[in-house]
């Protein structure tokens, strides 16, 4: 039994079958990579996990409970955090506030009328948030407005916002896109370090260097279906995968 079990998930947009009988089983504590060409349905699949989209048919079971029919905030409170393909951050707020907010959400739940204490004097929360910013290398910019960051920094900030929640399952949609080689390597190191904390991860990546440095298992998606699944070294040589990637230029 995996921590996440996806069975027969279908999703179509009008005439387009974006997901076609997707099956996926993610082991607890593993790093599961999903690769596949553009438009394969990878982001759509994650959308079905976090409640942005509802699958037409199929089941999604996380930690023994269904993720279907509950709201995005309930899914997060159940322990699922997500980094989006286009960063979703609080652009008008400071970096520190961006990380403090998820820290509060994890500690105090989906709603608390905590209207009298000062947010910046909640030392427990603040220290946790500052520590997290240090981990992703953004502590010097903690008072800057998040919207002014570069694309790569926004990604790292979003990663910090997810990690500070200490989720059971972390979904990463191309977490290193738009980053320099050096920043990519930093992010890989960071993800490896937090891997030791036992957070299960699903990571979507086009950068094979990232995939092969992190993943224990790889699923290949094409045209809405998982066409191959296995250990990274097996996937590398799989002819169907080479085919899906048009002659294997990426591999």
């Amino acid at each position: 039994m995996g921590i996440l079990e996806v069975r027969d998930v279908n999703k179509s947009f009008g005439g387009l079958q974006a997901l076609n009988n997707v099956q996926l089983n993610v082991e607890e504590g593993s790093v599961h990579a999903i690769i596949g060409p553009n438009g394969a349905g990878k982001s759509t699949f994650l959308n079905c996990l976090v409640g942005r989209l509802t699958p037409d048919t199929g089941s999604v079971t996380f930690n023994g409970g269904s993720l279907l029919g509950i709201t995005p905030h309930e899914i997060n409170q159940a322990g699922v955090a997500r980094v989006f393909q286009t960063p979703e951050i609080f652009g008008d707020l400071s970096l520190l506030d961006n990380v403090i907010i998820p820290t509060f959400a994890t500690r105090d739940g989906s709603f608390t009328l905590n209207a009298w204490k000062r947010a910046d004097q909640d030392w427990e929360v603040r220290e946790k948030a500052e520590h997290m910013l240090e981990d992703v290398g953004l502590i010097e910019k903690k008072d800057a407005i998040a919207g002014s960051l570069s694309r790569g920094d926004k990604r790292r900030l979003e990663l910090a916002m997810c990690l500070v929640q200490n989720p059971k399952l972390l979904l990463l949609d191309e977490p290193t896109a738009g980053m320099s080689r050096a920043d990519t390597n930093n992010t890989i190191d960071l993800l490896k370090r937090i891997g030791k904390r036992g957070i299960t991860k699903i990571i979507i990546e086009h950068d094979m260097h990232v995939v092969f440095s992190l993943a224990n298992k790889v699923s290949v998606m094409a045209q809405g279906t998982v066409i191959a699944e296995g250990l990274p070294e097996d996937i590398k040589g799989d002819p169907r995968v080479q085919e899906a990637y048009l002659g294997g230029a990426h591999l």
Binding site: H73, D92, D97
Partner: protein, 383 residues
């Protein structure tokens, strides 16, 4: 930008309280230091502070806040009629009743955001306005407005014999025997405004306030971060409605009657103007905006053609008539034209309102002293 440390907030609070309580002194050179106008500064200041808690923090623009102002007034007058001329129950019930109205209106309106939310709140306020004129006449006394009468029951006053005697007429509104007219009325409103300002500062700095800013910034991110945006926006809406109810009940405290026109869309629009003029999302802005608008309303609406002829009497007759005709459009009944022009100027040139103007000026002055790169100067977005 001054950082919001607890120490700076305390200083701001002390400065604010002193500035408000000494208004009768420092406003006298500009002829604004009489109780009736000062009361209006304080009351509309409260209205705008509350409005800003919703609009400034969450970005939800309500176009129907006057409904809560009206509900507060009607409730307060009923409290005077039925219970007592004491302002304590009047203000308490005014706040509670408008809070309950805000729960209902907010619950429905907040199902939509952006322009649809604004239209829904506007619709509710116009409905309240029309109901007050029609089917609710037994409660609102329709067009005449709700007034006190000699034969009102005033149960508590009669029970405890606490009625203040004022000859044979209707007894005055009072706070434990202190008559709420003139300067005592102003100080009562002023103290409540200072408390209201303090509460809004606490809310703004709190985790709850931070969540409201998150609502404005990115609701998607909020949901995927495990936060339920609905109760946050509803709580902000209700708190803001209660501020409006407080302001409405204070209008009745200083002048015990209530009419439906208090709920009209122009009154809702006015508080939007006050907040934007002063500076959306800033603590002081709404208070300043309310003060400026009420002050100019007072000055400009007082002019009539005779007064204008007097002012321009130095001009030759032909010219004088022309000038008076043009200027006359902007004063008296037409003062809203001045207000509109003022508003356009502020929104175009100072989208952050008067507070942004103050910020720019103080930066100019501080840069003259210390040539320092200001990395972190970012004006509050006007939204």
């Amino acid at each position: 930008m001054i950082t919001a440390t607890p120490r700076n907030d305390l200083l701001l609070m002390v400065f604010f309280a002193i500035a408000i309580l000494t208004m009768p002194i420092w406003l006298s050179p500009i002829g604004a230091a009489y109780p009736d106008l000062l009361q209006r500064f304080a009351i509309y200041g409260i209205f705008a502070i509350g409005f800003n808690l919703l609009f400034g923090l969450t970005g939800y623009l309500s176009f129907g806040h006057a409904a809560f102002l009206g509900v507060g007034s009607y409730t307060a007058v009923w409290s005077f009629k039925l219970l007592s001329m004491s302002v304590v129950p009047a203000v308490l019930f005014g706040v509670i009743t408008s809070g309950l109205f805000a729960v209902v209106i907010g619950y429905i309106s907040l199902r939509r955001s952006g322009i649809y939310f604004s239209i829904l709140t506007l619709a509710f306020a116009q409905m309240s306005y029309n109901l007050a004129y029609s089917v609710l006449t037994p409660i609102t006394n329709g067009e005449t407005g709700l007034q006190l009468a000699q034969e009102d029951p005033r149960v508590f006053d009669n029970l405890f014999g606490t009625a203040m005697e004022s000859g044979s007429g209707i007894p005055p509104t009072n706070l434990f025997g202190l008559e709420m007219s003139g300067y005592s009325g102003f100080y009562f409103c002023a103290v409540l405004m200072i408390i209201g300002f303090y509460i809004s500062m606490r809310i703004t700095r709190s985790p709850f306030g931070m969540m409201l800013k998150a609502v404005k910034s990115n609701q998607n991110r909020m949901s995927y971060t495990g936060l339920n945006t609905r109760p946050y926006t509803l709580a902000a809406f209700v708190i803001s409605g209660m501020y409006a109810g407080l302001a409405g009940s204070l209008l009745a405290v200083t002048d015990p009657l209530a009419g439906a026109e208090r709920m009209q869309w122009t009154a809702s629009g006015e508080v939007v103007l006050m907040t934007i003029l002063g500076g959306v999302g800033t603590l002081m802005g709404p208070v300043i905006g309310a003060g400026v608008i009420k002050y100019f309303e007072n000055i400009f609406s007082a002019f009539n053609d005779d007064a204008l002829h007097e002012i321009f009497s130095f001009l030759p007759d032909v010219l004088q008539d022309g000038v008076v005709a043009v200027v006359g459009l902007f004063v008296g009944e037409g003062w809203h034209l001045t207000l509109g022009a003022l508003f356009v100027i502020v929104v175009v040139f100072l989208p952050g309102g008067i507070m942004e103007g103050i910020g720019r000026l103080s930066r100019v002055f501080s840069q003259k002293k210390t040539i320092e790169p200001t990395v972190k100067t970012r004006a509050q977005p006007g939204e």
